[in-house]
Chain length 239, copies 2
């Protein structure tokens, strides 16, 4: 039987960055898909490879280059018959152009998915607080796109990126979800105090740090980069 029988036409997911974020993407994809039975869901091939070298370390501390690993993953998903690819890792999008160029099928961009999600939630203009890894924030992954769409950006201070965002992200990656909530919520509140109309959880560990059930109590619109990417994947896959 052809090796690709099962996988032709699937949504390919380059995950593992981190592994819980990759799995959470697959879970939210299922949860957000309008479906009455298994067979109405989107067939998905998730390459959840946590061996890919750390993206932040590579960009801000001269760590091993993750690009060859990520390109190999994109090539595997293409060879397996993916017709659309999602990458549930914001920092990985610092290499988006190279990854999209390595793919024969379209690759969704997580920042564009977040912008779509802001508009979906009725935030068409205003100040967007940004949370993410040191590399994502320092290298401006979100800022340029948001400004092109007419938003202003509100960033955490450098020490807050480390003591709030990165502390929360590292706790998720180490499976200490209980330790991840408080610093993430504190960062949301500080960005809100500085005038943010909405806050982007611009690292795929952050939606795991702040569970959906907690969010209505925060009193500010959050855009969740996992959910935003899943909604973009559903819309694009079905169009």
């Amino acid at each position: 039987m052809d090796n690709n029988t099962n996988t032709n036409g699937m949504l390919g997911v380059l995950g593992g960055m981190g592994p819980m974020a990759g799995a959470a993407f697959a879970m939210r994809l299922a949860a957000l898909t309008p479906a009455d039975r298994d067979q109405e869901h989107i067939p998905t091939l998730l390459l959840n490879d946590p061996r890919i070298p750390d993206r932040s370390t590579a960009r801000v501390a001269g760590g091993e280059d993750p690009l060859p690993y990520m390109k190999s993953g994109i090539e595997f998903l293409n060879a397996s018959g993916a017709r659309l690819i999602a990458i549930p890792c914001n920092t990985a999008h610092l290499w988006y152009d190279q990854l999209a160029a390595a793919s024969r099928c379209p690759v969704l961009h997580i920042v564009e998915s977040v912008v779509q999600d802001l508009k979906r939630q009725g935030i068409a203009r205003g100040r967007i607080g940004l949370m993410g890894t040191t590399a994502t924030l320092a290298l401006g992954l979100y800022q340029q796109t948001l400004e092109q769409h007419g938003y202003e950006c509100v960033l955490p201070e450098a020490d807050e990126v480390e003591s709030l965002c990165m502390q929360s992200i590292r706790a998720v990656k180490a499976n200490r979800l209980d330790d991840a909530l408080a610093p993430a919520v504190q960062c949301v509140r500080r960005l809100q105090t500085r005038g943010a109309d909405a806050v982007a959880l611009g690292c795929t560990e952050l939606p795991l740090a702040i569970p959906h059930a907690v969010r209505p109590g925060l009193g500010i619109v959050l855009t969740d980069s996992i959910d935003a990417l899943a909604l973009a994947a559903i819309e694009r896959y079905r169009s």
Copy 2:
């Protein structure tokens, strides 16, 4: 670059039955793995293919045979370099012998994983209440193995399989998680009333119906076939 560079030596997961159960398996695998950073997690390839024909319908109502689809998935995971395979669907294990025979690498058995989990939780003997699909319960997937290990089985009545187990399972498959809890909990309570010392959530939708946070309040040991399979995968992969 070799197509299999990323996937050699991975844990292969034949999922999609249903898709949320496949994704939840990947999520619980990450959550239950002792790890301080991404790179310590288990590399996983999840083929989450919800197009596989319904397993219960095939066994109890003459629906399309899912075996060729499942075998093709097993072959894809092998060809991609999987060194161990997990199938987070109990009903699919009615075809376990054929699937294991189609695989060059070992395939974990979900019922054996549940027995290991009962022992891990201190239940070495006694009466085990069984919940699952009509096909799983009617064809005795769990009963023989549990009895070989010295357990007695307590089953729901035929009408309860339909009105409690299947109703809950179908609600999960249709993304109506809120509707899935009450019938599942009612089934647990009835099995407990009939003398069960523990209850096996023997369908991978059922752990999604009864969230972890709810379980301590039920006052009976539950064994969760998703968590049991994830723990078995971690133990076997690392040995």
